[in-house]
Symmetry: C2
Subunit: 282 residues, 2 copies
C-alpha cells in the first residue's frame, strides 16, 4: 500500500485539538472520516504534532496508507471536497513506506501573536491581548536565551501520562520576537523553532516573557526558571491557545510536496455562505 | 439630558446586523442592554449605519442620551465591562444635543477584502476567496469609474421598504484597490468612501468587479450597468458579508473623541478563555 503525506491548514477554534478523542471533534478524526469517504475503507492518519484545543495550524503534516495509487494533487483536491470548511489540505506527497510524520520531523516552527492595544480586540482574536508592554525590549533579551539544548520544563505543564517521566531536555533552534505597527495596535510575534516542545510550553514561555516585559518579574527570575526545571515557580499565565499557530514542520529529506489547487479549478469566486439573506431581490 | 457619541468595534460573525430586531442578536440591542445596565433606565442608541448580518466594523459611531453626566472615557470603560467579547467601545465623546450619528455623517469609509489563493482559507475567513484573478488590473480600471455622483442602483438589492422609492443617486468620494503579497496568497482590498450606500451595494460592486477581473464580463458591461440603474443585469455574485468592514465614519465638525483605555487599567495581560484545560498542573 502506498503512503502519502498531507499538509493541513486548520482553524483550531472549533476543534478539541489535533489528536483523536472520543466524544470530541478533532482534526485527526475529521481527516480520517474524509479519507474513509474517499477510500471506502478505514484509514489511519498520523499528525506530526499534538496540538491543543484552540491552537491553529498553517501547515500540520501527517501521513496515511491508502490501498490504491493516487496522484498526490488529485488526492488533495478530492479530500478538500470532503473536508469541512475549517480544515484544508495545502500540499500532498507520495512518501517512502518508512515515512513517519511525527518521528521524522527535523524541526517544528511555531508562531505566537501578542496584540498590544488599549481595548480588547474583537476582529482579530487569534492572539494574547495586552493593554500595554512596559518594557518590550525585554522580549528580545529573553528570547535570546532560548536557543540551545535546555531543560525548559519549568515553563510547561504536566501531561499526566508516561511522557512526563521522560528526559525534558530539548533542542531549541531559534526564538525571535518581531513587532509590526498596525493602525491601532502593535503586534508582537514570537517565532520559535525546535525539534520538539513540552506540553503547553510555548504558551508558558510567552506568558513568562510578557510577565517580565510588564515589569512584574525580572529577567533574572526568567533565568532562574530556566535553570530550575520542574521545580520552577510559574512566571505569569499560560498564554491562551488562540494565539498559537503551528507554522510548519521540516523534514530531511523533504517530501516531494505538490501544492493543491494550483492548476485545476475554474477560477471562479466561491461564495461560502449563501443563505436566504444573500439572495438578491433585483 | 447630555448626549454622547460612542464609536464601536465589533465582529459581525455572531450578530444579525447592527439594527435592532425582534428575536435576533444585534449590535444595537446589545449596546442598549449595556447602557440600560449602567444607567438603570431604558436608553436608545442610534447607530450611524445599518450593517447587514455578518458585516463587521472597526469604527461604527452611534449616539445616545443619558440622564447623568459622564466623563466620556469613564463611560466607555464602564460599557466595555458590560459588553460581550465581540463588541467594544473604542472612542467616546460628549456631543451637542442636536448631534445625530446617522444624519450628520459626512463620509463613510468601507473596506472589502478578496483573498487570492489556490485553496480555500481556514485561518482568515473575513474575505471573498477566489482561486485566481485572470486580469487583476481590471480592478483598478473599474474602481476609477466610481468616484462622482451616480445612480449605481444596478449593483444594489431592493430593501423592500419605502427607501427603495427614493432617489438612488449618491456621492462616491473614493474607490481604490490595493494589493499585498502574503506568504501564500495575494490580498486585494477595496477601500471605498461615500456619503451613503444602497442596500448590499458595496458587495454587489465587488462581485461585479471580480467577475470582470475573471474575464467573465467586459469592462464595458460594467460601464453599461453603471448607466442602466435598477434595470441593469446582475454582473457576478453579491460578495459575502464576511469580507466587508465599516472602517469609519467622518463628521464635520468632528466630535471631541476620547480614546478608551489609554490611561487606565493595570496593563496586565487578560486571558479571555480560561477553561479547565488551561489550568496549569505544575
Amino acid at each position: 500500500m502506498p503512503r502519502y503525506a498531507l499538509e493541513l491548514e486548520f482553524n483550531g477554534a472549533d476543534f478539541s485539538g489535533s489528536q483523536s478523542q472520543t466524544n470530541a471533534r478533532t482534526v485527526q478524526d475529521v481527516v480520517q472520516s474524509a479519507l474513509a469517504a474517499l477510500a471506502g475503507e478505514r484509514v489511519g492518519f498520523r499528525p506530526a504534532s499534538r496540538l491543543d484545543q484552540g491552537v491553529s495550524a498553517a501547515a500540520l503534516p501527517g501521513d496515511c496508507l491508502l490501498a490504491r495509487d493516487w496522484d498526490p494533487e488529485v488526492l488533495g483536491l478530492a479530500l478538500n471536497h470532503q473536508l469541512p470548511e475549517d480544515v484544508v489540505v495545502r500540499r500532498a506527497a507520495r512518501v517512502p513506506d518508512a515515512f513517519d510524520a511525527r518521528r521524522n520531523a527535523a524541526a517544528k516552527h511555531y508562531r505566537y501573536r501578542v496584540l498590544v492595544r488599549p481595548v480588547r480586540p474583537t476582529l482579530d482574536r487569534a492572539c494574547l491581548w495586552v493593554r500595554r508592554l512596559q518594557d518590550p525590549a525585554r522580549l528580545h533579551e529573553l528570547a535570546a536565551l532560548i536557543p540551545g539544548r535546555h531543560d525548559l520544563s519549568g515553563f510547561a505543564c504536566l501531561r499526566h501520562d508516561d511522557t512526563d517521566q521522560q528526559d525534558p531536555h530539548r533542542d531549541y533552534l531559534a526564538a525571535l520576537w518581531s513587532d509590526r505597527i498596525l493602525d491601532d495596535a502593535i503586534e508582537w510575534s514570537l517565532r520559535i523553532s525546535g525539534r520538539g516542545f513540552l506540553y503547553k510550553q510555548i504558551r508558558g514561555l510567552v506568558g513568562a516573557m510578557v510577565h517580565v516585559a510588564h515589569g512584574r518579574a525580572r529577567p533574572d527570575d526568567f533565568r532562574a526558571a530556566m535553570a530550575a526545571g520542574w521545580s520552577a515557580r510559574r512566571l505569569g499565565n499560560i498564554a491562551p491557545a488562540e494565539g498559537l499557530l503551528l507554522a510548519g514542520v521540516d523534514y530531511e529529506p523533504c517530501p516531494d510536496w505538490r501544492a493543491i489547487g494550483m492548476e485545476s479549478g475554474s477560477g471562479s469566486p466561491e461564495v461560502r455562505k449563501s443563505g436566504s439573506r444573500d439572495r438578491e431581490s433585483t
